[in-house]
């Protein structure tokens, strides 16, 4: 590696002569060792999923959640150093709360992503701190309804709060991914962690456009998310893992605008389909191999 031995990689916030902050790049390495996380934004919601590698048989099954609720309508999943992720979530919750204190409204997903991007970036600026060893995926549903302010007691004006153009669509599903550098983008499908390459390849095959007949529905997205985590885990087969998934729909969808864990029955069904799809693929491969042999 070109960074080692140069002396430019020994402290955070130091630029190398070609303009890189190696400590941030090393933080990315910590992310790349972590279990795969993905997020899918489809037309009627967002799905978050994570591969939790089981490090010990003695762990209590299903007890250690990795996807966190930040506000009622916001969820975060991350890959990398788990205590760093907890810190990230604590901060995200503080941001969501302070937004509510100021604006008497839930924080839009884009604003949370922006604030957390800024927070992560601040940890690349000083030698006295280190960057976050995580990449976080933030999913949320901004309410499409005419919603009052927090603490409202009456009906309010019958025309609503105003400030909206008739016919224009407001709210909807949003997905962002924030890297240790503080860089963040909005995504249709996002993947990070060990299996991100395989996961990205799978995500790219999905139709995640905002509208259109054939674009993915939320329930299909849950099943795809499970399958993608299983595909991404494939190279890591010797280690067992637990799949954790959460979802967010609009007010008329299954979660009513809230970020929630995917119900057990649906998750198990998704896992069954994921396993089946992997087996089918294996069989096909074997067949191909056999055909080749015969030739």
């Amino acid at each position: 590696m070109t960074s080692i031995g140069t002396g430019y990689d020994l402290a955070n916030s130091i630029f190398s002569p070609d303009g890189r902050n190696f400590q941030v790049e090393y933080a990315v390495k910590a992310v790349e060792n972590g279990g795969t996380s993905i997020g899918i934004r489809c037309k009627d919601g967002v799905v978050l999923a994570v591969e939790k590698v089981i490090t010990s048989k003695l762990l209590k099954q299903g007890a250690n959640k990795r996807i966190a609720t930040v506000d009622r309508h916001l969820g975060v999943v991350y890959s990398g150093m788990i205590p760093d992720g907890r810190h990230f979530i604590d901060r995200a919750r503080d941001e969501a709360r302070s937004w509510r204190d100021t604006f008497k409204n839930p924080i839009p997903t884009a604003d949370l992503a922006s604030r957390m991007g800024g927070y992560m970036q601040a940890y690349t600026l000083y030698q006295s701190v280190r960057p976050f060893g995580i990449t976080a995926i933030v999913g949320g549903w901004d309410s499409e309804l005419e919603s009052g302010v927090d603490g409202e007691v009456g009906r309010g004006p019958s025309v609503g709060a105003g400030g909206k153009t008739p016919g224009k669509k407001y709210g909807g599903p949003f997905l962002y991914m924030i890297e240790p550098s503080g860089l963040y983008w909005g995504y249709y499908g996002a993947a990070t962690g060990k299996g991100r390459q395989a996961a990205k390849a799978e995500l790219e095959k999905l139709d995640l456009s905002a509208d259109g007949e054939s674009s993915l529905t939320l329930e299909e997205a849950v099943k795809e998310a499970a399958r993608i985590i299983y595909v991404a885990h494939d190279d890591n087969k010797d280690k067992d893992f637990e799949l954790e998934m959460s979802w967010i729909s609009g007010a008329d969808g299954p979660t009513k605008g809230f970020h929630q864990e995917v119900p057990k029955a649906l998750r198990e069904e998704a896992e069954r389909l994921a396993k089946k799809s992997l087996e089918d693929e294996d069989e096909e491969e074997e067949k191909k191999e056999d055909d080749k042999m015969e030739e």
């Binding site: 959640k65 609720t69 919750r93 969501a96 603490g151 007691v153 009456g154």
Partner: protein, 274 residues
């Protein structure tokens, strides 16, 4: 001429007189809310066999003016408890937002537990703050604020279930005074509704013998008496029934079968000459 740095840029004392800094000082001691402004009147509640019935009318008064007539003074916490607010409406809104944040905190670790042992039944909101916990919390909050000489000008009723799944009904006021009782009423209701409710539920045992229909009936009767006698009340009201199944809240109820016949016999008010 005064050349000392602290006099630089200042009008000369010998020409304009000494600087009058009195506007920087506030006059008298620090002040905070001295009285409520927009107010809600009574909240009444009674326990029964399986839960609690609680009601409050939908009026917010500005002094004697019936200013807002669609104000919802019963607030649901976590889908398992109800807080009824009497007193200042803006303080109620502050508390409502505060409780909303508390409820969001509670929803962070939403772990449905299949093996619950410490509670009688796997009821809704299990393992989360129940009405008894909420009562303790609000009591500390109100008492702290009164010690800061900045009270939240409310009296609250908290209706729900305790850790054992039994009905819970309690009260906190702006001084942090807190207690529980089989039936409770705030404001004018403490004088007018409480005696009626005590006839039906003088003790915990008596309350535990009431049916839901009876409890709702008593509360409706109380709301009617309050509307007859309390000039700051309204005949539109909210009523909630809290059980272990959750909260059933109706926010636009109308007082029925009113009879104002008794009013004719009232003499001696206003411009009446007879």
């Amino acid at each position: 001429m005064d050349h000392r740095p602290q006099a630089w840029g200042r009008p000369r004392d010998d020409v304009y007189g000494a600087y009058d800094g009195s506007y920087l000082q506030s006059g008298g001691p620090k002040t905070a809310t001295q009285s409520p402004v927009v107010t809600g009147t009574s909240v009444v509640a009674i326990k029964y066999k399986d839960g609690v019935v609680i009601a409050a009318d939908n009026l917010a008064s500005y002094g004697s003016l019936a200013r807002f007539t669609d104000v919802k003074r019963l607030r649901v916490f976590l889908g398992t408890s109800v807080v009824g607010f009497g007193g200042d409406v803006s303080d109620m809104q502050w508390l409502d937002r505060h409780l909303n944040e508390l409820a969001i905190d509670e929803s962070y670790d939403d772990e449905p537990s299949p093996s619950s042992l410490l509670s009688a039944s796997p009821n809704k909101g299990h393992g989360k703050l129940n009405a008894a916990n909420l009562h303790v919390y609000l009591q500390k909050l109100m008492y702290r604020r009164r010690n800061d000489f900045d009270p939240l000008w409310n009296q609250l009723l908290i209706a729900g279930l305790d850790a054992a799944g039994k009905p819970h009904l309690s009260s906190v006021d702006l001084r942090g005074t807190a207690f529980t009782s089989p039936s409770l009423a705030t404001g004018f209701g403490a004088a007018l509704a409480q005696p009626i409710m005590r006839r039906h539920a003088p003790t915990e045992e008596a309350a535990a013998a009431l049916t839901r229909e009876e409890a709702v009936g008593v509360v409706q009767e109380c709301m009617k008496v309050l509307y007859y006698r309390d000039a700051r009340s309204l005949d539109r009201y909210s009523i909630a029934v809290v059980t272990k199944e959750g909260v059933e809240l109706k926010e636009d109820e109308q007082l029925e079968r009113q009879s104002w016949a008794f009013a004719e016999r009232i003499k001696g008010y206003g411009t009446q000459t007879v």
